[in-house]
Amino acid sequence: MTMTAPPGARAGSAALPRLLAGCAQQRVLGLAEHEREYGTLWLRGRSGQRRPDRLIDMVEAAGLTGRGGAGFPTGRKMRSVAGHGETVVVANGAEGEPASAKDRLLLTYLPHLVLDGITVAADAVGATEAHLCVHRGEHELIDGLATAVAERRHAGLDPVPIQVTGIPGRYVSSEQSSIVHYLNGGPGKPTFAPPRPHESGVRGRPTLVNNVETLAHVALIARHGDRWFRGAGLPSAPGSMLVTVDGAVQWPGVYEIELGTCAGEVVMLAGGPTEDLQALLIGGYFGAWLPVEVAWPVPMTQAGLRAVGGALGAGVVIALPGSSCGLAETARVVRYLAEQGAGQCGPCLMGLPALAGAIADLAFQGGRGRAVEAIAALLPLVEGRGACRHPDGATQLARSAVRAFIADARWHDQCGPCDGVCRAPLLPIPGDEEEDWNWT
C-alpha cells in the first residue's frame, strides 16, 4: 500500500503538492529528474561561503516539527546538536508503525529528497557521519537507496558520505535511542535517558535523529525558505505533512495535506468512506481512537487532536466501519504491541500482556462485567513506567478505545462478543513469518 491516489483525486489546495510533487508518475525519481522537479540544492550561498547557521535559523522560523510521531520542534533539535564538535546525523526511515506507509513511499520514489535533507542537515550541524536507517529485511528498498547514494557520489553531491544501514525489524528498534544503541554496536533496544541522543549518541557524539519526512521538509526549506514553508498550514501549525489513510475508504494510500486540514476532509481525499463509519484511528498504533462525529471536524494538528483526547502521531488515519468491532481491533493491536516490547522494563514486560489479555477478554469473551474495570486499573500501572514510550502508546490506544467504544464495551460486558468480532481484521499486523526476531 504505497501508492498515492490516482492523479486528479486530490482536493483543491493551492500550496500542494510539495513533497509529493515528484510522485505524479508513481515511479522512482532519478537524480536528474529530481533536480528538474524540485530545483538544485546549494550548500553555499552566493558568496561561496558555507553558512550552516542560516539553515537552522530558517528551520526554526519555519516552525517545522518532527514527523516521526513525537512532534518535537526540528529547529530546536538541530540547534542543540550543532556547535558541539564533530556530530552525527541519523535519518530514521525504519517506520516501525505497521499502519504507516509514508516513509516507505518517500524512500522508494523520492530518495533524493530525503538524501538532500540529510546532506543539508549534516552541513548545518557540523556532522562528519551520516546514516540512513531502514529495516534490514527491506532488501529492495536498501538496493534502491544504495543506487541513489551512488548516483549522488558520482555527481559529488554529498560532502558527508551517507551510509545506508539496515537495523533490526522490531517495533521498538525504530525508536531513536534504539537506533543509536544499535549503531553503537549494541542490540536495537531503547536505552535509559539521560543522556539523550542529542547530548551523547553514536560513539558518544551529539547525534541528530530525524524522521525521513522531516528531513525531506528540511530539503525544501533549504531551497525555498521559511516564509514559503509557512505559506501552507496554520500560523500555529505551519507547513504540510504526509498522512497514510487506510480502512474503509475508497482509495487507501499516502496523501499530502496542509496541517489544519480536518480529519473528515482527509477521509474524503481518499475517496470517502465505503461504508458507514463509527470511528477514526488517528496517529497510528500509538495514537488514539475517536468517535467519527468527534473526529470528523478536528483539524489535523497536535493541539487540535490533543484537545479532544487524540494525538497526531505519525499521521495515520484509519476509518473504522460500523460493521467492525473496535474492541476486537484494539485487542489484536495491543497483543501485537505486547509482543513487540524489548522486555527490559518490568511494568511493560508484565503490564502490556496483562492489558492485552484484559482487552481480549472484553472483546472476545465478553468480560463478565469486570473487564472495563480491569483495563482501567491496569492503565496507570503501565503508563510512564518504561524507559521508552512504547507502553505509553499502548495505554493511550487502550484508553481511547474504552472511551470511544464505551457503548460497545458495556454491551460486550453484558452480552458477550458482538458480530463485528468475526469480521476480517482491518488493522494491519505483521505476521510471525515477517518478523525479524533478532535484536543484534
Binding site: G343, C345, G346
Partner: protein
C-alpha cells in the same frame, strides 16, 4: 602462659581467627546468594539480607586482619607481611599458604569494586563480583591445607558444613533462577 612472640598463643590466635574468618566468609557468601535469589519472609525483609551481607564483609576484614597479623608477627615461622598479598613468595607450607594470599587478593578486588560500584556501573561491577565464587573455595582449601586442625573432628565438621551450606544455597538459587526479574 605468657604472651611471647614465639609462643603458642599467637599460633592459637592464628588458627582461631582463621576459622572464624572462614565461617564469616561462608555467611557472607550465603547472604549474597540469598540476595540474588530474592528471599523474603514476614520476619526477614530483603534489606536485612543486603545489609547483613555488606556488614558481614567488614567483620570478615577484621578477623582476616587479625589472622594475617598474628601469622606475620609470630617469630616461630618467618612469614613476611608481603606473603599475605603476594602468593607463593614464602616457602612455608607451600602451596597452601600461597592460596591464602590468592584469596586475600580476590577479596580485596571484590570489596574495592563494590565500594566503587557507582563509578563502575552495574554491568562491570557484577562481572567482577563473580570473583567471590573463586575467593571462597580458595580460602577453604587454604584453610584445609595450611591448617593444623583439619584432623580435629569438630573443625572438620565445621568446614564440611560450610561446603554443604554453600552448595545447598547455590542449588536453591539455580532452581529458582527462572522465577523472578527481567533480563
Amino acid at each position: 602462659m605468657s604472651f611471647a612472640l614465639n609462643g603458642p598463643a599467637l599460633w592459637y590466635a592464628t588458627r582461631a581467627t582463621g576459622l572464624v574468618t572462614l565461617l564469616l566468609l561462608t555467611g557472607t557468601m550465603l547472604l549474597g546468594i540469598v540476595t540474588s535469589g530474592r528471599f523474603a519472609s514476614e520476619n526477614w525483609p530483603r534489606f536485612l539480607t543486603v545489609g547483613l551481607h555488606r556488614n558481614m564483609t567488614l567483620l570478615v576484614l577484621v578477623f582476616l586482619a587479625l589472622h594475617v597479623g598474628t601469622t606475620v608477627v609470630d617469630t616461630y615461622t618467618s612469614i613476611p607481611a608481603t606473603a599475605a598479598v603476594i602468593p607463593f613468595i614464602s616457602s612455608y607450607k607451600s602451596p597452601w599458604l600461597g592460596l591464602g594470599a590468592v584469596a586475600v587478593d580476590l577479596l580485596i578486588a571484590v570489596m574495592l569494586t563494590s565500594l566503587l560500584r557507582n563509578r563502575l556501573g552495574f554491568r562491570a561491577w557484577r562481572g567482577l563480583h563473580w570473583l567471590a565464587y573463586a575467593c571462597w573455595p580458595v580460602a577453604l582449601i587454604h584453610g584445609l591445607g595450611t591448617g593444623t586442625d583439619r584432623r580435629t573432628l569438630w573443625v572438620f565438621v565445621a568446614a564440611l558444613s560450610c561446603v554443604a551450606a554453600v552448595a545447598a544455597a547455590a542449588t536453591w538459587r539455580l532452581a529458582t533462577a527462572g522465577r523472578a526479574g527481567t533480563r
